[in-house]
């Protein structure tokens, strides 16, 4: 199943290879990969989902094609973040920093609800919440919790940016972008709290579905 963009036509055509290289040069400058220049970017594999496998094992094909697939992918990430923060706050290990994390937990829960409602509006079936697992000290050691939070937020930011140009519906694109910006705020604050560089790049990076699933694989499955 190949996922076609813009009716399968390339967004940009170049008269010659030099133009293409020039474009890629500036594209690299602003943090854009070359993959998007090609037509018919194949974001989704053809394998049929295996219901018994974990989301990571099933790969990106589990989410289906098109905007619905992207929304279900985003929903899976938001499920993970929502559960993580809910458990982290319940563990009561954050001290004064809890005030910065409480809104983050609320945002992630709101993202789950909003994406679920959108999928239902589209007549699609929202992905079910996977079973998550977290390393033993995640909710007992503040530093471990914050470090894990940074991982999730940076993964989330890259995941949304990896889908921005693949979303077909303008309203869904706007919604996804408006969520991505919030994830960027979260990433900055969590990095700050974890004593890590809060703005590691001058532009946000992006990741494919498969790269993201690999990153969250340790947290998936009972």
């Amino acid at each position: 199943m190949s996922r076609e963009l813009f009716d399968g036509r390339a967004v940009i055509e170049f008269d010659n290879e030099h133009d293409r290289r020039s474009f890629l040069k500036y594209a690299a400058l602003v943090g854009v990969g070359g993959a998007l220049v090609a037509s018919g970017t194949s974001a989704l594999a053809a394998a049929s989902p295996s219901p018994s496998a974990t989301p990571a094992a099933r790969g990106s094909s589990q989410f289906g094609a098109g905007d619905v697939g992207i929304l279900n992918y985003a929903l899976t990430l938001e499920y993970l973040e929502a559960e993580f923060y809910q458990k982290g706050l319940a563990a009561n290990i954050l001290g004064d920093d809890a005030k910065y994390v409480t809104p983050v937990a609320a945002h992630e829960a709101a993202h789950v609800q909003a994406i679920t409602a959108t999928l239902q509006k589209l007549g699609a079936t929202p992905a079910t919440k996977p079973t998550f697992k977290f390393p033993d000290t995640t909710f007992t050691d503040k530093a471990t919790f914050l470090k894990t939070a940074v991982t999730f937020e940076e993964t989330g930011v890259k995941a949304y940016h990896g889908q921005i140009t693949l979303i077909k519906d303008a309203a869904i694109l706007g919604a996804a972008a408006s969520i991505a910006g919030v994830e960027s705020r979260h990433a900055a604050v969590l990095n700050y709290l974890a004593q890590m560089p809060p703005v590691p790049n001058p532009v946000e990076q992006h990741a494919t579905m498969d790269e993201t699933l690999t990153a969250i694989k340790p947290f998936l499955g009972a």
């Binding site: 609320a106 909003a114 921005i164 077909k168 309203a171 705020r185 979260h186 560089p197």
Partner: protein, 249 residues
Amino acid sequence: MMKYILNRRSFMGRTAVGTGAVIGGGTAIELLSSTRAWAAAEGTDGDILNFALTLEYLEATFYQQGNAANVIVDAREKDIFATIQKDEEAHVTALTETLNKLGVAPVAKPTVTFPSGTFATRASYLKLALVFENTGVGAYLGQAGSITNKDILQAAAGIFGIEARHAALIGVISGAAPEGGIYKGATETAIAKGDVLAAVMPFLGGMPNTGFAPAPQSATNLLPIGLAVGGAAAALVAFRTRGARGERA
């Protein structure tokens, strides 16, 4: 030369290009239905990049002057502000080079002036920084639906996310309330171009080569022409931007 053969109709969905029509809300995320300010196509990608470049020039100049004033003394905060300045300078460079590659003349650096005392204290510096960053976030989001080239969309979104990081960090350093100060809810709110221009125009002495209208001086003049044609669109913008404008007051 490269040619753009984007199928804009499929990208923009039900939006008529350049007429200020409102994107249909049938598939909109319920929670987000009030946050989409991209009701109108607001120019070509070149126009949008020049609009962004103007804002980045403003921000870069702001941090150059502010950081030179040495009112941020904490080592970690200084480091963050140095990073933010570098980011804004990188955005100026990237946008300029992108415009050059597109064959569109980049807007010249505007003359920028800040109210006296802006850099006199840490508090006044932080206060305006927070306004600029949140305005930048809304400005980029407001243009997202109008960008036709996918790579430019990717790049603009990438810059947008960084402005959101800056806004959050300045919120933290300012001691702002977590919700409403550091964060602006579960979704970002877009700001239409006309409202962004109205907000930044007091700081700009001139915007040569942009083709932008001069600073709107009255509230009735705040909407971009494209939006003024539709009552519904105008109402949508007024609704969406109320919070942002109140904040600047």
